[in-house]
Amino acid sequence: MDCRDVVKAIDEQIELNESSFLEHISSCENCSKYYASAQKLRALFSKYDKTLDDTFGDDFNNALFIRLQSASAPADVKKFRPSIIQIASALLFTLIFSVGIFYFSGAGSTGSELVSSTETELNAPVRIVLEYETDQDIENIEVAFVLDKGVRFYSKDEKFRNLDGFIWKGNLKKGKNEIPFVVSAVEEGSWKIVTEARFEGMSHRHLITFRTDGSKVAVVLYKLEKLSDNI
């Protein structure tokens, strides 16, 4: 064994009782010192008392419970996409709503701006794709959806249909990103969905209105006013 083999054996903590290893250690001052330091480190780690960290018990639980009060209910993000793909072929309309999260077309615009409109039937699925374009990767973005009672997420899952709100959390890659969702107007009347993309205190809102006329439903997408100059 040479110095390199010995140091490798020490780093990998492999069996160190071989006679060639012991012989080398006893004759090589550098390796002997390295071995002693490694033993010291191992002893230090073995004496490290991990249990000391849990000294706060109920306080932590209470703090967590309070923090959870503002958290949305568990959401099945992974299953959300496949369910959209499943029903996509049955869709009558697809609305694509494209925005730049860092750059507004017409910076400094105020009020709302009509982006797109279409017509559908009561209870028919409408697939809406929010397209966000960014000039860099963005992590931990939240997109909140708030629905009036007459418009629901289009899903076989009753729990999902009953949601009045939903928060999508995820990351955006540089370039175009799509966040699709499927809804339907389920009652006659005038209804709306508000979406809001949030990122580090910045906010970007959109409004989708549903107005029924008999069995027909007019759907209109608006981009709302810019809420932050930082976007």
Binding site: Y34, D54, A71, P74
Partner: protein, 203 residues
């Protein structure tokens, strides 16, 4: 997996916040220990990031698959939360003022465990040493050498191959031994710990 744990997971998936807290309680000591270690002993930061990670875990409960290990899944979320935190160059671990004087790196005698004072010395020194490692090496050393986790589970948490994990552990140990040995360039190491995790050495 214990039945009670399965039951709590089921309830938490349905949105039961108290059940989720009870579930966390079952693993709290290990989770917090892991967090405090990654934060190199900064308990306030560790608790804050841990709680944030747990809120995210609650929201993502439906993505947890019962056949997997709940703690491994949680550990992964916590690890990712720390990585996200440390990716931001404005976030730094406010832990110790790392001395660049080799004489100051003194290992307390771990064989002498007569008092709590020694225990706290050991803790402080462990945190001080691991804080000198870049994050990739630090997490690997924490999981394997401090949390005493098997390589397979640690690799699963870090979402890397077994070979990559072993490489990180061995490199981490080597750096630590060199520090203890007095051969390490502690100035360089002190700078390394604030490097972006993406700049860490490749396996």
């Amino acid at each position: 997996m214990k039945n009670s744990e399965k039951e709590l997971i089921k309830l938490a998936t349905q949105g039961d916040k108290r059940a989720f807290c009870d579930l966390v309680s079952m693993h709290r000591a290990k989770l917090r220990s892991f967090s405090v270690n990654i934060a190199c002993g900064n308990a306030t930061l560790a608790d804050d990031i841990l709680q944030e990670a747990l809120v995210k875990a609650f929201i993502s409960m439906k993505n947890f698959e019962l056949r997997g290990s709940f703690t491994t899944w949680l550990w992964r979320i916590i690890k990712n939360e720390f990585i996200n935190y440390l990716r931001d160059p404005s976030n730094k671990l406010d832990t110790f003022s790392i001395s660049t004087d080799e004489k100051d790196i003194e290992i307390p005698d771990p064989e002498n465990s007569e008092s709590e004072m020694i225990k706290s010395d050991v803790r402080e020194e462990v945190h001080r040493l691991i804080s000198l490692l870049p994050l990739k090496l630090r997490t690997a050393v924490i999981l394997v050498d401090i949390q005493e986790m098997c390589y397979e589970e640690a690799a699963e948490i870090l979402e890397i191959s077994l070979t990559a994990l072993k490489s990180r552990v061995f490199k981490g140990r080597k750096k630590l031994v060199e520090i203890v040995n007095g051969n390490a360039d502690t100035r360089q190491l002190s700078a390394d710990r604030f490097r972006s995790i993406d700049d860490d050495e490749e396996e």
